[in-house]
Amino acid sequence: MGPLAASGFLTAFASDAVELDDFDAVVRLHWPAVFRFALASVRDRDAAETLTQDCFLHAWRGRGKFRAESTVKTWIMRIAVNLVRDHARNRRLQFWKRATAGALDIQTAGERLADERISSEARIIREERIRAVWNVSGSLPEKQRTAFLLRFVEDMELLEIAAAMGLREGTVKVHLFRAVQAVRERLGGAQ
């Protein structure tokens, strides 16, 4: 038995394959991450919902092809990444993207983080930082934004991100580096 099997790595993938049998449970488990990724990428609630539904419909139709070469989460996120990319490339929808660009704002989300233990000044600073990161992530090129969201919002490992994006780990690192540099410049940390 190899080290991977001994560490339970392969066992985890095998259990993922079984997990697909209960597709409703798969949806319940991964729906929030897919919707969140779609929402942060396209910044349109209705489009994000449609993309999320499409993602799980694709997963349902393609579940027979799932070979447990990655986790179910990585597999589903790969579908989501492709759908979001196709959505962004759809020029017809670009019009709606522009039209609704101002509709969604993360400010309300910052307000939801209101913590009674911190001062109102500290809260304002935090909300400004959140808004700055939100704005920067929206202006990043597609691959940088995708890598950034998967890493820092979905907490995915570099190898998982590489599998989800269909890229090599080194390429993911480059995209992440550029995204982080842009965020730091906006936050005033990068000279």
Partner: protein, 152 residues
């Protein structure tokens, strides 16, 4: 490593590239560590706010995949194929039925030919036949015998 981590090294560290020299430096240098903690804090706040916001915006999943049973899809597909085959088979049969059949006119032809034969074999046209009763066309007729017809 002298001084502090460069801006590039800090971004690389945050992106997942973590060489041992940088790690050693971060153990010793509070300023660089502070910079990374500040960045990490901003990214964590961003993640938490996005998660909260998304959770509030997220609609309940509509299980549209349940309406698409693979067995039912296969059955429908086979039904469509069977229907197409039936239509393809029915077309030549329908065309063959619709084609005008040759009418059997042999009996009518026979009657017509008999009529033609009868007409051809007449010694006088049919319209003149009543006259034949008045006039004898035999060799004993007055004209034939050189006798004149009686005067009226």
């Amino acid at each position: 490593m002298s001084g502090h981590l460069s801006s590039r090294e800090i971004s690389e560290w945050a992106s997942g590239t973590r060489p041992p020299e940088a790690e050693n430096h971060l153990h010793k240098c509070g300023e660089c560590r502070e910079e990374l903690i500040r960045l990490h804090g901003a990214l964590s706040d961003f993640r938490d706010s996005l998660r909260n916001w998304s959770a509030a915006e997220s609609p309940a999943p509509r299980p549209i995949w349940r309406t698409e049973s693979p067995h039912r899809t296969h059955r429908l597909r086979w039904a469509l194929v069977a229907m197409a085959m039936l239509v393809l088979l029915a077309i030549p049969v329908y065309r063959a039925r619709e084609r005008p059949r040759p009418v059997d006119t042999s009996a009518e032809d026979t009657v017509l030919l008999e009529q033609i034969d009868a007409n051809v074999s007449r010694t006088v046209p049919a319209t003149m036949e009543p006259l034949t009763g008045l006039v004898s066309w035999s060799s004993t007729s007055p004209a034939a015998s050189g006798k004149s017809l009686p005067k009226r």
